[in-house]
């Protein structure tokens, strides 16, 4: 269980997260909401990359609020970045070995690359640099996090740059992680459809916990009311 207590994050001129209290349990937890509502900031705070202004984070009752990134990583917190980082000279195989010390052979690493739909033979010795496309980098990023594993696995917009044909595989992949705390920041209906819980971040810094049926109904109603008002304006 991952518990967030009274978490706040302020910059000099803006309050981004306001008194957030959340409990994430095993299963697929989807965070959604408009751009600029603090979703990526929360992911970074959970990983330790960004320090919260105040509040507490507990992993299975252990207070991890003040722990460094690497210590959290060792306790089982993993983050698949929204924008994967590129490295000159570090190959896909090197990265897999850094993520998981049990990966010794190319065959070990291939298991994870195949899971994200990459032909391992074509990628294993390639450098993780700008010669890879955005979609390829994203898949390698996800494969690295699958290799690392952990108790809490956060995916920040995993669908970005991944083609539609690969989508079913991606959602099926998340379903195989259901025994862990999976947190997915996403705007995709198909990802929300497989979720156990949805956390809707709104512009006022509030977070509404909901489920897919309720959320889809609300979105539908809001679309209808927008259409109605547009129709009224044109008349």
């Amino acid at each position: 269980m991952l518990t967030i207590k009274n978490l706040c994050y302020k910059t000099q001129d803006k309050e981004i997260l306001k008194d957030v209290n959340l409990v994430f349990e095993n299963g697929i937890n989807v965070i959604t909401g408009q751009n600029g509502t603090g979703k990526t900031t929360l992911a970074k705070i959970l990983m330790g990359i960004v320090t919260a202004t105040s509040g507490q984070i507990l992993l299975d009752e252990k207070d991890i609020t003040k722990l460094s990134i690497d210590k959290r990583a060792k306790l089982g917190v993993s983050l698949s970045f929204q924008q994967p980082t590129t490295f000159k000279g570090i190959t896909v195989f090197d990265m897999m070995k850094l993520a998981n010390k049990d990966i010794k052979t190319i065959k070990d690493a291939c298991t994870y690359l195949s899971m994200v739909g990459l032909c391992a033979r074509d990628y294993i010795n390639r450098e993780i640099d700008k010669n890879l496309s955005g979609g390829e980098l994203k898949r390698i990023e996800i494969a690295t996090i699958l290799a690392k594993g952990g108790k809490v696995i956060i995916f920040d917009e995993p669908e970005a740059g991944i083609d539609m044909w690969a989508f079913d595989d991606l959602t099926n992949l998340f379903l195989t992680l259901k025994d862990k705390i999976v947190i997915i920041i996403s705007h995709q209906k198909r990802i929300m459809e497989i979720s156990n819980k949805i956390y809707l971040f709104n512009k006022d810094g509030e977070i509404v916990v909901t489920d897919k049926t309720k959320l889809f109904k609300e979105v539908e109603e809001s679309k209808c009311s927008t259409l109605r008002s547009q129709n009224a304006n044109t008349k």
């Binding site: 990134i69 970045f81 000279g89």
Partner: protein
């Protein structure tokens, strides 16, 4: 014949690790003298008569052969200047491994290796050159000069590394390319403490459709200083690309001075240079995989310096 002690063997192993080529010709030079020489029917090695050094003759059509010519300096107070000329025939495919290892204790040792390559038509040369210093204190100076003259349709892939222990160096490379000739250079430099390193590249793209790619990746730590000068001259329809990537840590300094000079409207010359500290995003990414900050920095530097050509 002089034998090699443990440190000398270690140096030799590091600068001249064996590769997958069945037959190699070998010339090992230690403290200013040739200690091992092995030649074969395809690759002849003879000593120069007028000065220190050797002439290497590679016969036309020689394929998949290797030639190792390492140099070891294990005494201080010695300045060893050596002139090695490679005459590579036509239709040759060869790997040449050179380099110098210095272990001189507290004094000063200097090696100046002047290599010239005359590469025949349709020939392919892979040239690997490693420079390494061992031991604390003292001065280990290396000033390599490499000149490459490339005929029609020839290819030269150079991998040069100066990884550690060299206190001062001035590295000079000159190349002149004929029609359709291709030159790829991958240089890796790593300096620490108060070391200094100066690199000069001058490439003349003389032949039609000649191509040159020069990539220099360097890391400067502590108070070390590196100075990179490059000059690519395009005299015909050609393509030239120079890339200088540097990572700085501590109080180090890296300077890059590019010059591209095109004298033909079908010449395309590109220069890229980037110098900066290790990217924070890269450190954060590796830390999120469980590495601490120092381990993350080391992995980033190791990756950056690993040569891939």
């Amino acid at each position: 014949m002089q034998t090699l002690n443990k440190i000398e063997k270690e140096l030799l192993e590091q600068i001249s690790s064996l590769h997958n080529i069945e037959e190699c010709s070998v010339n090992i030079r230690k403290n200013g003298q040739c200690v091992v020489r092995k030649t074969n029917a395809d690759i002849e090695i003879e000593s120069k008569k007028d000065k220190e050094g050797i002439n290497i003759f590679v016969k036309d059509g020689t394929k998949n052969k290797g030639c190792h010519i390492p140099v070891i300096l294990s005494v201080s107070g010695l300045t060893d200047t050596v002139y090695n000329d490679f005459y590579i025939g036509n239709d040759v495919d060869i790997t040449i491994v050179a380099g110098c290892g210095i272990s001189c204790g507290g004094g000063k040792s200097e090696h100046n290796g002047i290599h010239r390559f005359f590469i025949g038509e349709n020939s392919k040369v892979k040239y690997i050159e490693k420079h390494l210093g061992l031991g604390n204190g003292g001065e280990r100076v290396i000033n390599p000069v490499t000149k490459v003259f490339m005929k029609k349709n020839s290819e030269c892939n150079m991998i040069t590394t100066q990884i550690s222990g060299i206190t001062d160096s001035k590295r000079t490379t000159f190349a002149r390319l004929g029609e359709n000739a291709v030159l790829n250079i991958n240089e890796t430099l790593f300096t620490t403490d108060n070391q200094t390193c100066e690199t000069h590249f001058k490439v003349v793209l003389e032949g039609k459709n000649s191509k040159a790619h020069i990539v220099s990746r360097s890391v400067a730590k502590d108070n070390s200083k590196q100075n990179f000068f490059s000059s690519v001259i395009g005299k015909n329809a050609c393509f030239g690309h120079i890339e200088c990537d540097g990572i700085l840590t501590g109080h180090a300094r890296i300077a890059s001075t590019p010059k591209i000079d095109a004298g033909c409207e079908d010449a395309l010359l590109v220069h890229e240079a980037m110098i900066g500290k290790i990217s924070n995003d890269q450190i954060l990414k590796l830390m999120s995989l469980g590495l601490n900050k120092e381990e993350a920095e080391q992995e980033i530097i190791n990756g950056f310096l690993s040569s891939k050509i």
